[in-house]
Amino acid sequence: MDEAPRDFGFNTRAVHAGQRPDPYTGASATPIYQTAGFVFEDTESASAYFNLQEYGNVYSRIMNPTVAAFEERLANLEGGVGAVAFASGLAAQAALFFALLEPGDRIAVAKALYGGSTAQLNHLARKLQITVDWVDMDDPDGWRRSVTTETKALFAETIANPGGNVLDISLAAAVAHEVGAPLVVDNTFATAYLCRPLEFGADLIIHSATKFIAGNGTTIAGAVVDSGTFDWSNGRFPSIADPSTAYHGLKFHETFGVYGLLMKLRSETLRDFGAVLAPFNAFLLLLGIESLAVRMDRHVANALAVAEWLREQPGVAAVRHPALPDSPYRSLVERYLPAGAGSVFSFDLESGREGGRRFIEALSLWSHLANVGDTKSLVIHPASTTHRQLSDEELAASGVAPGTVRLSVGLEDVDDLVWDLERGLHAARNSAVTA
């Protein structure tokens, strides 16, 4: 019987994509292939694997079946042709830009960006002689004004960390394609459940899988997902279209077509960088991603409830949750994030730096730590931690006020979360009185 292939839904694919019952043992869970190497069938097979003529496992610094199950699942959920996993989100990001860029190239990057990404791109720029053009992503003409004929990629987050700026994906993609460059989107805060940027014209996705994908703060991991639709042979990407010295003159894009960039990223960049995802970590990610949709629905609901409560409280100067009715991003949320704008947002205390410190010290349920996207609710006060060295003026330039607090709302009961925040706000208000 030749029936049409079924178009399975998101939840089904989150549980099954990339994994089949183990053909040898029947194991239902994905086995953890905790092995460095793989025994070749014969010398002919070994050489075929090394020459990339045949799909075969060679060495776990390049590929591993447990890691591959995670890669396929993530690619499937994002609507890409494939993915390459890395040891962290920043490793994925560094590897992708290393693969795409040549000395002298430019990239246009949203200013509202995770601080670790900003620092990494500044270092890459200096070491690799590339230029980063920082873009005001909220300005409708920002991207167009910032690209040049040397621009090789546009890069932004779906929902910016920590400002909550929402990217107009279709607009950025249109500008990127006008200059023959790919749009790269960091989809960490939205996940494929809340937004699939490839459907709006983005070409490549970066994830810190450490966050909502792992789901419970156990695992550092990252990945690159490719749409497979960008034309790397447009004359602007010699490192992907031209003969590779690492593989006897192989042209990755011509030979592997839509899989060309991913083949290069795996068999050249990952191989050279060595920032490989461990099989056990991939196993944890597979467990996490199975429940992605269920968790995200609760994360979204809890975060919105906390944000709505916060904006009614004395001592709170502003709440920046993109889905609030008065948010400047409300219309972009309706277009790109109809199921919710994630669960990480920030708010400002009227009591400034000292109030922020007292607020954190008074909390007992929320964890004070430098991560987001956990089942547990997390809080950080940038002015006294991640941005501690900056003056008030420098803070303002990076979009953070002295009293800004970032929340990552977890899966606890909202009443309990609010009970604890109330205690923190009380302490912050008292600091304002005594200061």
């Binding site: 030749d2 292939p5 079924r6 399975f8 089904t12 694919r13 099954h16 994509a17 990339g18 089949r20 019952p21 053909p23 029947g26 239902s28 075929a48 020459n51 990339l52 003529q53 045949e54 799909y55 075969g56 496992n57 590929m63 079946p65 890691v67 591959a68 199950a69 890669e71 396929e72 690619a75 499937n76 890409g80 042709v81 494939g82 993915a83 390459v84 996993a85 003969p243 006897h248 003159g249 192989l250 042209k251 011509e254 030979t255 592997f256 077509g257 839509v258 899989y259 991913l262 083949m263 795996r266």
Partner: protein, 145 residues
């Protein structure tokens, strides 16, 4: 498409290159390894992958299940006419080989047609090891068959 991959035995590759770095050679090598009989068709070569090369499809002296094309799309209508003439089972046009005219000719001649797909990828997706490389195979299954 699935039936073509599963049932084919003899694949004539039009435009099969002798260069090991070309996509056509990757596909030919792969199909040979997986038990298909590969017949190279290329007026500029004599021996590729250990097989005698025929200049044109109509010179091939045996039954062809699949005509797999790595040629400029402009060359496809003529290849499709030959494929019909020799009674091939299917016309398979690789990534980027897009020819609605060629596809129409083959279909009217009774051939199954696949366009803008890679035979190697579709084989690896269904039967093989594509999922070992982190590519999305689209296979969703909880049973062992």
């Amino acid at each position: 498409m699935q039936e073509i991959v599963l049932n084919a035995r003899t694949v004539a590759i039009v435009g099969l290159s002798a260069s090991e770095l070309r996509a056509s050679h990757f596909v030919g090598y792969y199909l040979q390894r997986h038990g298909y009989r590969v017949i190279p068709v290329n007026p500029n070569e004599e021996l590729v992958l250990g097989e005698r090369v025929y200049p044109r499809l109509r010179d091939v002296p045996e039954r062809i299940d699949v005509v797999d094309v790595f040629r400029d799309p402009a060359a496809v209508p003529e290849i499709a006419r030959e494929a019909v003439e020799v009674g091939a089972g299917a016309l398979w046009l690789q990534f980027g080989v897009i020819s609605p005219e060629g596809a129409r000719i083959a279909k009217e001649g009774g051939l199954a047609v696949v366009m803008d797909r890679c035979l190697k990828v579709e084989h690896a997706r269904l039967l093989g090891r594509m999922h070992w490389m982190g590519f999305d195979t689209g296979v969703i299954a909880g049973s062992r068959h």
